[in-house]
């Protein structure tokens, strides 16, 4: 029998028992539904993570630390031995850790590594407050501007090189600081206040009252910054963490940072440095520089590592859902086996007739295997179709609830779904192997005698 005839006959057989075929396929569809949603969520999460990284990190930059362990999780069950050479005890990620800090000589050393375009200290200044005349004081953060970020502007322009003491003001502060609109803020000044930590550091507060006293008596300074642009609040939560950051040039930020830490052990010491690699979007070049810096004893994290860290948790959750989906599919395989066995029993006389008419054993086996494969195909189509429909329906709701803006949580890729369906066809065919073997080996005379 020609393959085409076998497929056509298999289709006809399945259509002649529609209810049984659909019910068996539905069992497969449940697993497919879960796996399709998982794939969609995985794609969405990857896309989301990439967007976070893309909007916050320059892919050609490496984050470098003096401490190789900074980017790794330490064994929190064992105490860390105190090392006076570290010079600093800081809190990172919620745990108390001793971390080696970078000095200016480290920054110069990093800048001289072959393939490095520039090395800058990674600093963000926690402002005591920012304000304007007659306005309330607000807490805030000032960071060096990285042209890679290219924020959407409501007013003003960002020059290729920012002048000292100029600032990009985020939309979030616009009305709070008494501006009527973005354009009216351009050219105006905001006062940024920073407090020197040396006084606080030299005082050992014994209670909250003495701490307050130490803070109020410490030196502080207000610096005027001219607003050159107003950045629009991003319409997604992707940049939420930095949406209220003010940006200036590195020199201005560093000056404030130096003022804060002047007289302390952390003066001109940095947790991380941003190292820009020449042609760093080329992975090979980036990896070469990363290896060179690591070989000098520094800790390095690339954007890919950052992305991996973000997607790690998502991957674990995905893994759990995937396992459930696979379990559902394995369970449905037994359904296919059962259905096909029943089909063989019900069609014993038909099998006998086909054998009497000269149908080869292999063709009979193929007929049942193809029927099982078609059940897999149907289950795959139903499951993935329902998942896609649900995804299309849910995406706007989820995006709006989670504030993802234009990002979608469920992204379906048809090549992945195609591969999933092909896998299900193969699984169906495998599930049909034993019933097909039984059919192929039926004694035609016994089969024809069956009532």
């Amino acid at each position: 029998m020609l393959f085409f005839d076998i497929v056509r006959r298999a289709l006809r057989n399945l259509l002649s028992s529609k209810a049984r075929t659909i019910l068996t396929a539905l069992a497969i569809a449940v697993g497919t539904f879960a796996l399709t949603l998982t794939l969609g969520a995985s794609n969405g999460a990857q896309d989301y993570a990439q967007n976070i990284v893309k909007s916050n990190f320059d892919p050609s930059e490496l984050l470098v630390s003096k401490d190789q362990n900074l980017f790794q999780r330490q064994d929190a069950t064992q105490p860390q031995v105190y090392d006076p050479s570290f010079g600093s005890i800081t809190t990172f990620g919620g745990e108390s850790r001793q971390v080696k800090l970078l000095s200016n000589s480290d920054i110069s050393k990093l800048a001289s590594v072959s393939g490095v375009a520039s090395a800058e200290p990674g600093i963000s200044v926690s402002l005591q407050y920012l304000t304007r005349d007659g306005q309330r004081k607000y807490i805030g953060t000032l960071s060096p501007y990285n042209p890679y970020q290219s924020p959407e502007l409501l007013a003003g322009k960002i020059p290729s090189t920012l002048a000292d003491n100029t600032v990009i003001l985020p939309e979030g502060f616009l009305y709070s600081l008494g501006f009527t609109d973005a354009q009216s803020a351009i050219g105006q000044n905001v006062r940024l206040s920073v407090k020197n930590q040396a006084t606080i550091a030299s005082t050992l507060p014994t209670n909250s009252a003495s701490l307050l006293n130490a803070q109020s008596s410490s030196a502080s300074e207000e610096v005027n910054f001219k607003i050159i642009a107003v950045s629009k609040t991003p319409n997604t939560v992707i940049s939420a963490a930095t949406s209220l950051y003010l940006y200036s040039n590195l020199n201005s930020v560093q000056n404030l940072n130096d003022y804060i830490y002047n007289g302390t052990s952390n003066y001109q010491k940095y947790l991380v440095a941003n190292v820009k690699v020449k042609d760093g979007t080329n992975t090979t070049k980036l990896n070469t520089v990363e290896a060179a810096i690591k070989s000098q004893g520094y800790g390095v994290q690339s954007v890919i590592d950052t992305e991996k860290t973000i997607t790690q948790v998502i991957s674990v959750l995905e893994g759990i859902v995937t396992v459930f989906g696979i379990i559902a599919i394995i369970a449905s395989v037994f359904g296919v086996v059962n259905t096909m066995y029943i089909s063989v029993l019900q069609r014993t006389r038909e099998i006998g007739l086909m054998k009497a008419l000269g149908m080869h054993r292999k063709d009979i086996s193929n007929l049942f295997r193809i029927e099982a494969g078609l059940i897999g195909l149907l289950g795959g189509l139903i499951g993935s179709f329902l998942a896609i429909v649900l995804g299309i329906g849910l995406n706007p709701v989820i995006s709006s609830k989670l504030g993802l803006g234009d990002s979608k949580l469920l992204i379906f890729k048809f090549n992945q779904i195609g591969l999933l369906i092909i896998a299900l066809i193969i699984i169906g065919i495998i599930a049909g192997l034993l019933p097909a073997r039984k059919a192929a080996h039926l004694d035609p005379i016994e089969a024809l005698r069956t009532e």
Partner: protein, 227 residues
């Protein structure tokens, strides 16, 4: 020509063995109409199954047109049956959910007849049994006699050299049964196939040119001859 030589069939082993056929020798010429007659359990169906290659003998052989069918591979016997033999059974064995046309197409699909030729051949076979108008009706809608005619159409669609009919009128009333037999004998003349009829009905057997009476696995008598 079909030559059955020293055909013996034993079921089971040692003490529980049962000899269904015992050294059967027959020669059937082309285009003959032959009835294998005997009571239930006489071995007539076993003889038909072995002659058609559906079952294997314990000893002896069957030679069709000079070829020992039991020296062929399983695949070749299948192909031989698909192109040279056909069957009509007492229980019709039609696919109820398929149309009449689809039922008749089955042997053509198995024999890998080119697709372009199939439909015409199937419709011709249905016309030959006067079911041409019902080609697209579901087989389940047919009466018992019509179902057996459909089974005959399926049996002749490939223009087989040998047609085995196992109690073809067993499930039909006498009038319908007579019609089916007339149809088969007419087809024997029209397409020139050898008809081997297995029956316990001696009246029916009288219409054939040769009658082989089987009793307890042995040939009791051969009446008539090849025509």
């Amino acid at each position: 020509m079909i030559e059955v030589k020293n055909l013996t069939k034993i079921y089971g082993k040692s003490e529980n063995s049962f000899k269904a056929l015992d050294k059967i020798n027959i020669i059937i010429l082309d285009k003959a109409t032959v009835a294998i007659v005997g009571k239930s359990g006489s071995g007539k169906s076993t003889l038909m199954h072995i002659m058609s290659g559906l079952d294997a003998p314990s000893s002896g052989t069957v030679i069709v047109d000079g070829t020992d069918i039991f020296k062929m591979s399983e695949k070749k016997i299948d192909s031989f049956r698909a192109t040279q033999m056909s069957f009509v059974f007492q229980s019709f064995f039609i696919e109820a959910n398929a149309t009449c046309l689809q039922n008749v197409l089955l042997p053509l699909e198995i024999a890998r007849v080119p697709m372009g030729k199939r439909k015409k051949m199937a419709l011709d076979a249905l016309d030959a049994v006067e079911l041409g108008e019902k080609a697209n009706l579901k087989a389940s809608t047919l009466s018992g006699g019509q179902k057996q005619r459909l089974a005959v159409a399926r049996a002749i669609v490939n223009k087989p050299a040998i047609l085995f009919a196992d109690e073809p009128t067993g499930n039909l009333d006498s009038i319908t049964g007579d019609k089916i037999m007339k149809l088969l004998f007419n087809l024997n003349k029209k397409i020139g196939c050898t008809i081997i009829l297995v029956t316990h009905d001696e009246d029916l057997a009288k219409h054939t040119s040769m009658r082989i009476k089987v009793k307890d696995g042995k040939i009791e008598a051969i009446e008539g001859g090849n025509k």
